[in-house]
């Protein structure tokens, strides 16, 4: 690790101020991705502002037609939350499929979406569930939030505060994990809103999470696995690595989409 100055703010305002005062500041949430990256000297900062002491940033609240999850809420809390399990069980399933027990005890939703790893699970959850990201200054729709490889719409010094999920009519989650890292090779979140609109988001397959509109349209007309039959998935532009080439990833998108639909229908 390169040297840095450590900050332990106790309030969001304090954190904002410290971040603003730094030439090269970074926020530390769960640290499950950031700290290993810093260990490899692939990331560095002059000031590391630790959000773990800010209690107001954590917590789960069910409101009228939505569930709000504080940015510093741990994956284990989401996976185990009675509110989430009742309102959006697929979201609880997603949270419970991230990493491992130890990582889920520490990792946070805010950290995950702001780090924006191309194979992270939560981005598919946010995009597939039509979530809104509330920051210290505005609300950003999931469609606009994930902009590239490890890139988000957050501005300099902007802090994600919570994520608001609209409660769908139904939603399903399916993940195919990498044999080594257990990150998603391909994972899919599908949801159908009360009005019938369908969202289907894929993570792990491109630089960042994306929707498959052909599938969404087919499912909006007929929310069933069969509706996906014959919808081709192009391998163009898909990620290629040791664990999956483009063609296999394209195949997996079809498989995981069907499984996500199956999961939604079974819940």
């Amino acid at each position: 690790m390169y040297p840095f100055t450590y900050h332990r703010p106790s309030s969001l305002d304090d954190a904002k101020a410290r971040l603003a005062a730094s030439e090269d500041g970074r926020l530390l949430a769960g640290g499950m991705s950031l700290l290993p990256t810093m260990r490899f000297r692939l990331a560095s900062c002059a000031d590391l502002v630790d959000l773990n002491g800010i209690e107001a940033l954590a917590g789960i609240e069910r409101g009228d037609g939505h569930v709000r999850v504080g940015a510093m809420t741990r994956h284990a809390a989401v996976a185990g939350s009675a509110e989430v399990r009742e309102a959006i069980p697929a979201l609880a399933a997603l949270a419970g499929s991230i990493g491992d027990v130890q990582v889920r005890n520490r990792g946070t939703i805010g950290g995950s979406i702001c780090f924006a790893d191309p194979a992270a699970d939560y981005p598919a959850g946010l995009l597939g569930l039509d979530a809104t990201i509330n920051t210290d200054r505005r609300a950003i729709g999931a469609d606009d939030f994930f902009t590239g490889l490890y890139e988000t719409a957050l501005e300099e010094g902007e802090i994600a505060v919570s994520v608001e999920f609209a409660i769908p009519e139904r939603a399903g989650w399916a993940k195919f994990g990498n044999q080594a890292s257990r990150f998603a090779v391909v994972a899919v979140m599908v949801s159908q809103a009360a009005g019938g609109a369908v969202r289907l988001a894929v993570t792990g397959a491109r630089t960042h999470v994306f929707r498959v509109t052909e599938m969404e349209q087919a499912l909006a007309a007929n929310f069933s696995e069969e509706a996906l039959d014959g919808i081709p998935v192009s391998s163009e532009g898909l990620n290629e690595d040791l664990h999956a080439d483009r063609d296999y990833r394209a195949h997996l998108i079809g498989v995981m989409a069907r499984r996500a639909v199956r999961d939604a229908l079974a819940r």
Binding site: L35, P36, D100, Q102, V103, S181
Partner: protein, 162 residues
Amino acid sequence: MDGVSVNFTVNGREVTATVDPRTLLVHFLREHLKLTGTHIGCDTSQCGACTVHLDGKPAKSCALLAVQLEGAEVTTIEGIAGPDGMHPMQAAFKEHHGLQCGFCTPGMVMMGIDIANRHEAPDEATIRSELEGNLCRCTGYHNIVASIAAGASASRRREASG
């Protein structure tokens, strides 16, 4: 870089130290406190050899900075045995040959205790799934799974008896 002062509890003892903020919890435990039972088996937080309990829940001490521990309670492998002998989970690992080289063992035992804490009578599939964050290269897991099942049952018996 200036040292940062941190106060927390390790195995029931108060610890106060001034540390380089770059110090990982696992290095702090091993090098400052000489608690060398917690091991480092990888650099990507995959292997779980560094698993400790942080405020009662398992965490990977290689993915935490020591300075983040302000006010926390940490339990390591050195802190689980009682005055009368090993913790039932430790004893179960011995009885069921749940270790060979012993390197992953502290992390496995800490994880085993957590599994026992959260599951009434964990079956094989549950134990295997809960061990997703812990790697072993010697035992083939067969006897680790048996050890944790037995250790969980022994822990419950101990609670029931008093």
